[in-house]
C-alpha cells in the first residue's frame, strides 16, 4: 500500500466541558477527494483547525507523507502544502482581487506579476476572475474563487474546503465541482467538509463520518445512499417530516410592488417585490445569502416600515404597523440572527420570552409586566421544543446555537400565529431538531396559518414548501409550485451563476 498523503492517528482535543475530537484517525490518499461528514458540533471544524495549525491536539499525531507533521501555526501548515478555504471569507470589500491576495502572502510579488499569475491560475482551473475588480462588487461565488485562487497560488498538496457550497447557487456549485475534479486529476488531495449528502455522493471518493467527536464510520459515497449516510451522521433513524395534503384558504398576506432602499451601505435594496401567501400554505423563499433575506424579513415583521398599501394582511394595509401592532394582528417572525436580533444574549430565557410574547400571551398589563406568567410561557417553550437548558433563568447566550434556535422558533409557533415568517429556521441545528422544527412549521400550516420560510437550504425548502420563489439581488422571482421543480429550474430562479460562465475545462 502506498503511503497516504496525510494520516491522522488518534487525534484528541478537549475543551472545557466538551471533547471536540476523541481519538480520530483516518487517512487521506494522494489525489483523493475525501469528505468529512458530520452534524454541527460533531467536531469537523476542530479537526481541520488542527490540520491547519490553528489548534494544537491534546494527543495523537499526524503524518504527512510518512513524516511527523505538527504545524505550530497556519503559516507552518501552508509551508508544508496545506491550504484552506474557510466558510466565511476573509476579504476586504474595498480592495481589489489582487490586493486581497497579496495581503495573504508572505512575500507578495509585484502587483503586475501577481495579476498575471492570478490570470494564469484562473484560466487553468476554469475560474475566470479579473484581478483588478473590487471585491465588494463580486458575488459570493466569485469571492469564493478569490479564496480558492489564493490557495492555488501556493500550489497546495492538500486543499481543505469548509462547507464551500453553502453560499452558491446550483450552477455555481457545478463550476466549483469541475474545478475540484481538475485539481484531483492533477494529484491535489481535497478534504471536503459538508453536510450536503448529494454533493458528497457526486464529488467525493471517500467519506469519514464524525459524530460527537468520534470517527463513527467510513464509506464510499457513490455506493452508499444519502439516507444511510444521514443515519450514520445522526446515529439513529431519521424521522422525515410528514406533510399532509392541505387545502389553501384565502390570501393571508400580500406584498405588492414593494421597493425599499438598502438600510445600510452593505445591505440590499428590495426591488419591486410581489408576494402572496394563502392560509395553510408554506411559501419557501430561496436564494444565496445577502440577496435581501434580512430586508424582506424586516419588511414582513414590521421592523422596516413601508407604504401602508404595500403590505396587506387579509386585505387590510399594515405597512405602517410596527412589530408590536403586527403581533397583535397575528403576524409573527423569527429572524435569522439568533443572538442579538431574535434574542438578547445576556438576558434570561424568561426575559427573552417577553421579547415577542408580551402582546399575544398577555404578559403585560397597562405597561406592567407579569414575570410569573412569562416564566410559565418560557417553560412551555422549553418543554414543547425540547430546548436543552437547566431552566428559564439561564442567559440566552449560554445555550448552544441549535437549542437557542429551537427556543426562538418555539416562541413564535406557540403563540398561534396567523402568519409566521422565519428566516433560516434550522441554521446550525442538528438533523433531529431540524426535522422537529420543520414538522412544527408543517403542523402550523395544517392548522391554517400562512408560513413564509426564507432559507438557503434548498433541501429544506423542497421538503416543506408548497410554492417556491427565489430572492436575487433584492428581486423576488415569480412563485412557482414547489412540487416538480428541478434543481436546474431553482438555480435559474436564484439567478443562475450570477453572470459567471460555466467553466470550460
Amino acid at each position: 500500500m502506498t503511503v497516504p498523503l496525510l494520516s491522522l492517528q488518534g487525534l484528541t482535543k478537549a475543551y472545557p466541558g466538551v471533547v471536540a475530537n476523541d481519538s480520530v484517525s483516518f487517512d487521506i490518499g494522494e489525489g483523493e477527494v475525501h469528505a468529512l461528514l458530520g452534524e454541527n458540533g460533531a467536531g469537523k471544524s476542530t479537526l481541520v483547525k488542527m490540520i491547519y495549525g490553528l489548534v494544537k491536539p491534546d494527543s495523537g499525531q499526524m503524518l504527512l507523507r510518512g513524516a511527523p507533521f505538527a504545524p505550530a501555526e497556519p503559516r507552518a501548515a501552508r509551508a508544508d502544502g496545506i491550504a484552506m478555504v474557510f466558510q466565511h471569507f476573509s476579504l476586504f470589500d474595498a480592495l481589489n482581487v489582487a490586493e486581497n491576495i497579496a495581503l495573504g502572502m508572505e512575500n507578495p510579488p509585484e502587483m503586475r506579476d501577481l495579476a498575471a499569475r492570478i490570470r494564469e491560475v484562473s484560466e487553468t482551473y476554469g475560474l475566470p476572475l479579473d484581478p483588478f475588480r473590487t471585491v465588494g462588487d463580486l458575488s459570493a461565488g466569485e469571492r469564493q474563487r478569490v479564496e480558492i485562487i489564493r490557495c492555488l497560488l501556493q500550489d497546495p498538496k492538500l486543499l481543505i474546503m469548509d462547507e464551500p457550497t453553502s453560499v452558491l447557487t446550483p450552477q455555481e456549485v457545478e463550476i466549483l465541482f469541475k474545478t475540484l475534479q481538475k485539481l484531483r486529476a492533477e494529484g491535489t488531495s481535497i478534504l471536503y467538509i459538508s453536510h450536503k449528502l448529494e454533493e458528497i455522493r457526486t464529488l467525493c471518493d471517500h467519506a469519514t463520518i464524525l459524530r460527537l467527536g468520534k470517527n463513527v464510520g467510513e464509506c464510499t459515497p457513490s455506493e452508499t445512499s444519502a439516507r444511510d449516510m444521514a443515519e450514520m451522521m445522526v446515529g439513529s433513524s431519521l424521522q422525515t417530516p410528514q406533510r399532509k395534503t392541505r387545502e389553501f384558504g384565502e390570501v393571508a398576506m400580500a406584498i405588492t410592488g414593494l421597493s425599499v432602499p438598502a438600510p445600510s451601505a452593505f445591505g440590499t435594496s428590495l426591488k419591486n417585490v410581489h408576494l402572496t401567501v394563502r392560509k395553510g400554505e408554506i411559501l419557501g423563499i430561496g436564494g444565496v445569502a445577502g440577496n435581501g433575506q434580512d430586508e424582506l424579513l424586516g419588511v414582513l415583521s414590521g421592523e422596516v416600515l413601508t407604504a401602508a398599501d404595500a403590505v396587506k394582511l387579509h386585505g387590510q394595509p399594515i405597512g405602517r404597523h410596527g412589530p408590536t401592532a403586527r403581533r397583535a394582528l397575528g403576524v409573527l417572525a423569527a429572524p435569522e440572527e439568533r443572538l442579538g436580533h431574535a434574542a438578547a444574549p445576556d438576558m434570561s430565557l424568561t426575559e427573552n420570552a417577553m421579547l415577542t410574547g408580551s402582546v399575544r400571551e398577555g404578559l403585560e398589563k397597562n405597561g406592567f409586566l407579569d414575570w410569573g406568567k412569562t416564566k410559565d410561557f418560557a417553560e412551555r417553550i422549553i418543554k414543547a421544543f425540547d430546548v436543552r437548558t437547566p431552566g428559564p433563568g439561564n442567559a440566552a447566550r449560554s445555550l448552544s446555537g441549535g437549542n437557542l434556535q429551537k427556543f426562538v422558533i418555539g416562541r413564535e409557533v406557540l403563540q398561534n400565529p396567523d402568519v409566521l415568517v422565519v428566516n433560516q429556521p434550522t441554521w446550525g441545528v442538528d438533523a433531529a431538531a431540524a426535522a422537529a422544527i420543520r414538522q412544527s412549521l408543517l403542523d402550523l400550516a395544517a392548522k391554517g396559518a400562512a408560513v413564509i420560510c426564507i432559507s438557503q437550504d434548498l433541501d429544506e425548502l423542497m421538503e416543506i414548501s408548497d410554492s417556491f420563489a427565489a430572492l436575487n439581488e433584492g428581486r423576488l422571482s415569480a412563485p412557482r409550485e414547489a412540487a416538480g421543480l428541478t434543481v436546474e429550474e431553482i438555480g435559474l430562479m436564484m439567478g443562475g451563476a450570477h453572470g459567471m460562465e460555466v467553466a470550460h475545462v
Partner: protein, 360 residues
C-alpha cells in the same frame, strides 16, 4: 500565561462583590498614594471613611452626607436609565444648573408673596428646566443624528454662562449691594426647601431621591418601558424587533435624566445653597456619572454609591483640613474608585484562567 475567558453566564457573585473589591483596592492603593505624599496612610483612610460617620464631629457631618448624597443619587438615577439603553447624557451638570435657575426664578417671581403653592410650582419649574435643557440633545439626536455625548456636554458650558448672566442680571438681588447672586431663598419661607426634621439634613431633595430610587427600580424590573431600556442597551437589533421605537426611547431617557437633574438643582438652590450665584454648581452632574457606574446602573446600587461618594467627599474635606492632604490627592482617590470598579467589573463576564492559551 494568564488570560481571560468569557463566562457562559454573567457571574452573580462577582456582580455583587465587584463594588466591595473595588472599594478595598482603592483603600490599599489610596493608602499607598497618601504614604508617598508623606501622610500617614491608615490615618488618612480612617479619616475619609470613619470620621464623617462615627468621629467626634459626626453630629455635624452625618446630615451633610444626606445633603451631598441626595443630588448625586437623584441625578445618577436619571442618568442610569439612559446609560442602560446606551444613551449617554454627559450634560447633567447643565441640566442641574438650568433646573436651579428655573426653580429659583419661578419662586422669586412671586417674591414677597407667601403662599403654599409656590414651592410645588418651583419643583415643577425645576424639573421642566432640566427636562427642556436635555431635550435639546435629544431632539438633535433623533432629528439629525447628532451625538448626544458632545451636545449635552457642550450645553453644560452654555448653561454655566447662562448662570453667570442671570446671577449678574435677571435674578440679581436688588437689595444685594451690587454683589452678584440672587436673593437668598432660605430667607423666603414659601420658597425655602427647609430641613423636614431639624438637624438631620433631611430635606425634600432627599425624599425625592428615595422616591426616584423606588420609581427606577419598579420601572426597570416591572414595566415595559424599563424592559425596553434594558433590551436596547443589551441588543439594539433585538429591541427593534421587539417593537421599541428608538427615537421615543431617546426622548424618554434624556428627558427623564434632565428632569431629575433639574429637580436636584432646584432642591439645592432652594435649600442647602440658598441662592443662584456664579459658582452655584460644584460638579454634582459629573460626579453623578461616577455614582451611576459605581452603583452598577442599578437603583439600589446607586443609592449606596451615592452615600459612598458623599462620604469620600466629606471625608476628603476633613482629611484636607486635618491632615493637609492636597485636594488633588482626594480627586485621584475618587478617580481610583471608578477605575477599580470598571476594572473589576470585567470579572463579572470573564474569568481569569491560568494555563496554556488556546488558539482560535
Amino acid at each position: 500565561m494568564i488570560r481571560l475567558e468569557k463566562r457562559p453566564q454573567p457571574s452573580r457573585a462577582w456582580s455583587l462583590a465587584t463594588p466591595l473589591v473595588a472599594v478595598l483596592a482603592t483603600m490599599v492603593f489610596g493608602g499607598l498614594l497618601f504614604a508617598a505624599l508623606g501622610k500617614p496612610p491608615v490615618e488618612a483612610i480612617r479619616t475619609i471613611f470613619w470620621e464623617p460617620l462615627f468621629g467626634e464631629f459626626s453630629f455635624y457631618y452625618r446630615p451633610q452626607l444626606l445633603v451631598k448624597g441626595a443630588p448625586l443619587v437623584l441625578i445618577a438615577i436619571g442618568l442610569s436609565l439612559g446609560f442602560r439603553a446606551g444613551i449617554w447624557n454627559i450634560g447633567a451638570e447643565g441640566q442641574y444648573i438650568m433646573g436651579a435657575i428655573c426653580g429659583a426664578g419661578a419662586g422669586l417671581a412671586f417674591y414677597p408673596l407667601e403662599a403654599f403653592y409656590i414651592f410645588p410650582i418651583m419643583v415643577i419649574a425645576g424639573a421642566l428646566g432640566g427636562w427642556a435643557w436635555a431635550m435639546i440633545p435629544a431632539i438633535l439626536k433623533t432629528r439629525f443624528g447628532t451625538n448626544e455625548i458632545l451636545v449635552s456636554l457642550m450645553l453644560v458650558y452654555v448653561a454655566e454662562q447662562f448662570l453667570a448672566s442671570v446671577s449678574l442680571g435677571l435674578l440679581k438681588n436688588p437689595e444685594g449691594f451690587g454683589f452678584p447672586g440672587s436673593r437668598n431663598l432660605q430667607a423666603y419661607d414659601s420658597a425655602h426647601n427647609a430641613e423636614l426634621i431639624a438637624g438631620t439634613g433631611m430635606h425634600w431633595g432627599v425624599v425625592a431621591a428615595l422616591i426616584a430610587v423606588i420609581f427606577a427600580y419598579v420601572l426597570l424590573n416591572r414595566h415595559m418601558t424599563g424592559y425596553h431600556i434594558r433590551l436596547t442597551g443589551e441588543a439594539p437589533r433585538a429591541a427593534k424587533f421587539a417593537g421599541v421605537n428608538p427615537a421615543r426611547l431617546v426622548l424618554f431617557c434624556l428627558g427623564m435624566s434632565g428632569a431629575l437633574a433639574g429637580l436636584a438643582g432646584m432642591f439645592e438652590v432652594s435649600g442647602p445653597s440658598g441662592q443662584i450665584s456664579i459658582d452655584f454648581n460644584v460638579g454634582y452632574g459629573f460626579t453623578a456619572i461616577i455614582v451611576a457606574f459605581l452603583g452598577r446602573l442599578h437603583p439600589v446600587g446607586i443609592l449606596l454609591a451615592g452615600g459612598l461618594m458623599a462620604l469620600t467627599y466629606i471625608g476628603g474635606d476633613i482629611a484636607q483640613s486635618n491632615l493637609q492632604l492636597p485636594a488633588a490627592a482626594i480627586q485621584v482617590f475618587q478617580g481610583m474608585l471608578l477605575f477599580f470598579l470598571l476594572a473589576f467589573d470585567l470579572l463579572t463576564n470573564f474569568r481569569i484562567a491560568i494555563g496554556k492559551p488556546e488558539v482560535a
